[in-house]
């Protein structure tokens, strides 16, 4: 493994807007794929009658097939290296089924490229109601991705024809939607590119002399590894609990925030089970201190087996994990077959906890374009709506205000196998 800092990059955007083509061409231009490989794909692509259209997208597909055959085992997830950083690329699945896993997955994205096509019609669909540009921007924000860049793609398309005016038009619209979900757009790079011709990926484009900003590769290099949240209160969502002969009770989990030290007094919430951390191990090695990102097991004194479970959260007695009887969530409804009304009780997924929860109040509906309240106490919510709602888990669970501890402040709402909504905790209104 490379000694460079490691960082997870998520590529998001509407279906067919050119994510794979751009990523494939970037890998090519960065020297990860030979010209011969690209030519082979161009030929393959032509044989299917698609012309050369898919040659770059197929680079990623073919690596995938190699992976499936087990040829290049270490390429399970696509890796990529710049002069400064070592990347793992996460290509966000388009199917909503996987959103829950993105929200509760332990390996979170550190930075994102939002890919939006400038092509006439495509752009309007992507950023429009139900378009994935908005949905994915919200998802990135919910996932706590602090660093985001926008690739405005297909600048070579005949309807765009490298036009600065079209770029500005697209940029303005995207700025609007990123602002609404909470990004400071003055810090975001908008790069006009063609994944197809490679303009502005690695080399500055001669077709777009009006653009003075960084290339996509320079943008990637400007991303940094986010600092570990060491100064936040200790939070470890429990993944499993073991009883080990000669050791005793051993909870297992990933440190999300704060620091756990050997000898610390600890409390598991919501059960309010107190004890002491005797010793900590990771990779079978004893460590005196565990930090965010560490996957650990630790032995505890004074904690009976059966009193601690998956879904509990460990903290320190002087800063206990917040146990919510009821909280206000800011949600976006991704897909609901009919409408959500007060009393609706789907299942909530947050960190390692799964719990049924009732929508006890629909507080307000917001305009997804401006974030302004457009309706107080709406009677129902439909697909595409963004809203403030009160949620009451059937039993109290640990969650934190997103503004305080984002790692424990995001959730997915599921019902009958569908992801209905995603959201963040605004405020815990009733504590246990």
């Amino acid at each position: 493994m490379s000694a460079k800092p490691h960082i997870n990059l998520i590529v998001i955007g509407h279906v067919d807007h050119g994510k794979s083509t751009m990523a494939g061409n970037l890998l090519y231009q960065a020297g990860y794929i030979t010209a011969k490989t690209i030519d082979d794909y161009a030929k393959e692509s032509e044989q299917t009658g698609a012309g050369e259209t898919f040659k770059f997208a197929w680079v990623l597909d073919s690596l995938k097939e190699e992976r499936e055959r087990g040829v290049t085992i270490d390429l399970s997830f696509q890796k990529f290296e710049t002069s400064k950083l070592f990347y793992t690329i996460i290509d966000a699945p388009g199917h909503r089924d996987f959103i829950k896993n993105m929200i509760t997955g332990t390996s979170q994205a550190d930075c994102a490229i939002l890919t939006i096509s400038s092509k006439k019609g495509e752009f309007e669909v992507g950023v429009g109601p139900g378009g994935q540009a908005r949905e994915h921007a919200y998802l990135a924000r919910t996932l706590g991705v602090g660093q985001i860049a926008v690739a405005i793609t297909k600048m070579d398309d005949v309807t765009t024809n490298w036009s600065q005016a079209r770029y500005e038009e697209c940029k303005k619209e995207i700025e609007g939607l990123l602002k609404v979900v909470g990004y400071d757009t003055s810090k975001i790079n908008f790069v006009p590119v063609s994944g197809w011709t490679g303009d502005n990926l690695v080399k500055p484009s001669e077709k777009m002399p009006w653009y003075k900003g960084p290339t996509m590769m320079q943008v990637l290099d400007s991303f940094t590894q986010p600092p570990k949240p060491l100064d936040k209160p200790l939070r470890i969502p429990i993944q499993d609990v073991y009883t080990i002969t000669g050791v005793g009770t051993v909870p297992v989990g990933r440190v999300e925030t704060g620091v756990l030290k050997e000898g610390d007094k600890i409390v598991f919430m919501p059960g309010n089970v107190a004890g002491e951390c005797k010793s900590i191990e990771t990779h079978h090695t004893k460590i005196p201190v565990a930090e965010p990102g560490d996957n650990i097991g630790f032995s505890v004194r004074g904690v009976e087996k059966g009193t601690v479970h998956r879904g509990d959260v460990l903290g320190h007695p002087d800063n206990l994990p917040t146990v919510a009887k009821e909280f206000i969530g800011q949600i976006i409804v991704l897909a609901h077959p009919t409408a959500i009304a007060q009393g609706y009780t789907p299942v909530l997924h947050a960190h390692t906890v799964t719990m049924a929860a009732t929508f006890t109040e629909l507080i307000a509906k917001m305009d997804p374009r401006t974030g302004q309240t457009i309706e107080e106490k709406p009677a129902f919510l439909k697909t595409g709506d963004s809203a403030l709602v009160k949620l009451r888990p059937l039993s109290p669970i640990v969650v934190e205000a997103y503004s305080h501890i984002p790692q424990l402040g995001r959730f997915a709402v599921r019902d009958m196998g569908n992801t209905i909504a995603v959201g963040v905790v605004k405020e815990v209104t009733e504590k246990a």
Partner: protein, 89 residues
């Protein structure tokens, strides 16, 4: 058809669980259209070793990930599972 990769950590029911046997059981229990690209063993603490399975599945079939999670949890010798990450292949 697009494929999705998922890295899933699998906790054995017991520290002394035979992991090669567990891998076989998991392979056998997974839906037919899901393949295990690899298993890695992650030593955690006090002799406990978790498995990390990298799975490949079709993206478009709704409920595939739920089915996988259910099948894994129902596999004898599996205690809990924890999804690490998902991505398009």
């Amino acid at each position: 058809m697009a494929k999705v990769l998922a890295a899933i950590k699998i906790f054995p029911s017991d520290v002394s669980k035979d992991l090669s046997q567990l891998k076989d059981q998991i392979q056998r229990n997974l839906p037919k259209d899901v393949s295990v690209l690899r298993f890695q063993e992650e030593p955690i603490a006090f002799g406990l070793v978790a498995l990390i399975a990298t799975l490949s599945m079709p993206e478009e079939i709704s409920g595939k990930m739920d089915e996988i999670e259910d099948k894994l949890k129902a596999t004898e010798g599996v205690s809990e599972i924890q999804v690490i990450t998902v991505s398009r292949a």
